[in-house]
């Protein structure tokens, strides 16, 4: 356990020196600042204004950027170290594979989650200064949703990172995962519904299995409890599950999927050749 925290600490230190981390932090922090500078928060679109409007745009951006950023920066974590022989040297010391793998994951989770979370806090602080009313419950739930979304993609990235041997394949597969999930958010699902090629049940199941869609529905349900702005699948889910259960599902499901993939990754790391 002592080595797990050591690996996590060293991974954080290493990430803090990497360019990707600064680009990542700058994108989220910069976006939040940009929303305020450009007065986005003062505009009114479909009834949303103030901090709600700003958070809503932040969600749209998060849905697109966060998964791919986590995937491409993390998927190289173990596969890159394996390819460059860093893994060979670091694992020639008496460190258990359990401590190494979970330590890396803990370290990487801190570096991918904190910038997004801090950007959100920055938005909250800006919102407070501009005199808006603070929707604390919304901020808390949105932070929890961000946590879940980060976790599921981190788990997926670690899984891919351990099962593939080259960084190129790891990057390629992470793009495939990202594109596939993006394609199956509400808009593509509506297309499928209109074409009547798949039954409604299958479409609803696809929606409920897709962590990006689950995050989207969960996050937007905070602003629009009727979910009128995001389409029929989300509306059906809200109608069937109810607001509370939908939120619990949106928080718990991605964490479970992330944990499952991370665990499969760990099993592969232990059972397959390390190099």
């Amino acid at each position: 356990m002592k080595n797990l925290f050591l690996i996590a600490y060293l991974d954080v230190k290493e990430s803090l020196r990497s360019k990707w981390f600064y680009v990542y932090a700058l994108i989220f922090g910069g976006l939040m600042a940009l929303f305020f500078v450009t007065g986005v928060s003062d505009s009114v679109v479909m009834g949303f204004t103030g901090l709600s409007r700003m958070l809503l745009i932040f969600i749209q951006v998060t849905i697109i950027i966060l998964p791919i950023f986590i995937l491409i920066t993390t998927v190289k974590s173990i596969s890159g170290d394996r390819e460059s022989n860093v893994l060979e040297y670091m694992l020639s010391f008496p460190v258990s594979l359990k401590d190494y793998y979970w330590g890396k994951m803990l370290g990487r989770f801190s570096t991918v989650f904190l910038p997004v979370f801090l950007a959100l806090l920055m938005g909250v602080v800006f919102g407070l200064f501009s005199g808006g009313e603070m929707p604390w419950k919304m901020v808390f739930l949105y932070s929890a949703l961000l946590f879940s979304l980060s976790f599921v993609f981190l788990g997926l990235a670690f899984f891919l990172s351990t099962i593939v041997k080259s960084t190129d394949v790891a990057l390629g597969s992470s793009f495939v995962v990202w594109i596939a999930m993006l394609a199956f958010i509400d808009i593509a699902l509506m297309g499928l519904m209109l074409q009547n090629r798949l039954s409604d049940e299958v479409i609803i199941t696809i929606a409920m299995l897709n962590p990006i869609e689950v995050f989207r529905i969960g996050a937007i349900s905070l602003f629009d409890p009727e979910l009128t702005v995001i389409g029929p699948v989300a509306y059906y889910l809200l109608d069937t599950l109810g607001a509370k259960l939908l939120m619990v599902y949106a928080l718990v499901y991605p964490i479970l999927v992330g944990a499952l993939f991370a665990y499969f990754g760990y099993i592969a790391f232990r059972k397959k050749d390390l190099l």
Binding site: N3, L10, R17, Y89, L97, L274, L275
Partner: protein, 213 residues
């Protein structure tokens, strides 16, 4: 016996890289392991270090299976790779990793580095990969020697060192505890001839020659 490998076989993409290899390493053995590229030398070393799951046979280091009991096994082994890996940690962080994972004293690493003419203090905050090839190799050697292991494994350790660095390195090796075993993977027996007492030759995944010098 420190290391026992019995009938060890390992296949990659359907071809045998190790084919029923049998070797034992005893305390005090100073081995030069030679053979052409692809003979299986590095694969055998990696199997001893627990990086590979062998297809058949068994390996034990001090009675422990290197895959199942890697922590126990790696406490007793120091390893220097052929090419220093591009570790992104700073020297300070790398030393923290070595100190805490292996219980090596930082003072000892500084002392060994100084004996290799490497001034660690002035580079301590630099990332490891930004050091010159020779400096990296010297630090890896200093770390390996500080660890006080029972088996030192060197994969072409002097490939990046200048003649003076090589001389220093060989000088340090003469001071190693006689009970400690060393395993050099090398193509240049003449350079380490005075430091070894056993020669193993591998070809096509098998040990073809194993003799005392």
């Amino acid at each position: 016996m420190l290391v026992v490998a019995k009938n060890v076989s390992k296949k990659f993409m359907g071809s045998y890289v190790l084919d029923k290899v049998n070797i034992t390493i005893n305390s005090g053995d100073r081995i030069a392991m030679m053979g052409p590229n692809g003979a299986g030398k590095t694969t055998l070393v990696r199997a001893i270090l627990g990086f590979y799951h062998i297809d058949s046979g068994e390996i034990s280091v001090k009675g422990f299976d290197p895959v199942k009991k890697r922590v126990e096994v790696l406490k007793h082994i120091s390893f220097i790779p052929q090419l220093p890996p591009p570790v992104k940690l700073s020297l300070e962080e790398l030393l923290v990793y070595v100190e805490r994972s292996s219980g090596v004293s930082r003072k000892k690493i500084f002392e060994e580095s100084a004996r290799m003419d490497l001034d660690l203090k002035s580079h301590i905050s630099k990332p490891f990969f930004k050091l010159s090839g020779g400096m990296k190799q010297k630090l890896l050697i200093a770390i390996a020697l500080s660890k006080k292991s029972e088996l030192l494994i060197f994969d072409e350790p002097t490939a990046n060192l200048d003649p003076k660095g090589r001389e220093k390195f060989y000088e340090l090796l003469t001071e190693i505890d006689p009970a400690c075993s060393t395993l050099f993977i090398t193509h240049r027996l003449d350079e380490i001839e005075g430091l070894v007492n056993r020669k193993i030759y591998m070809d096509l995944g098998s040990v073809t020659e194993d003799e005392k010098i």
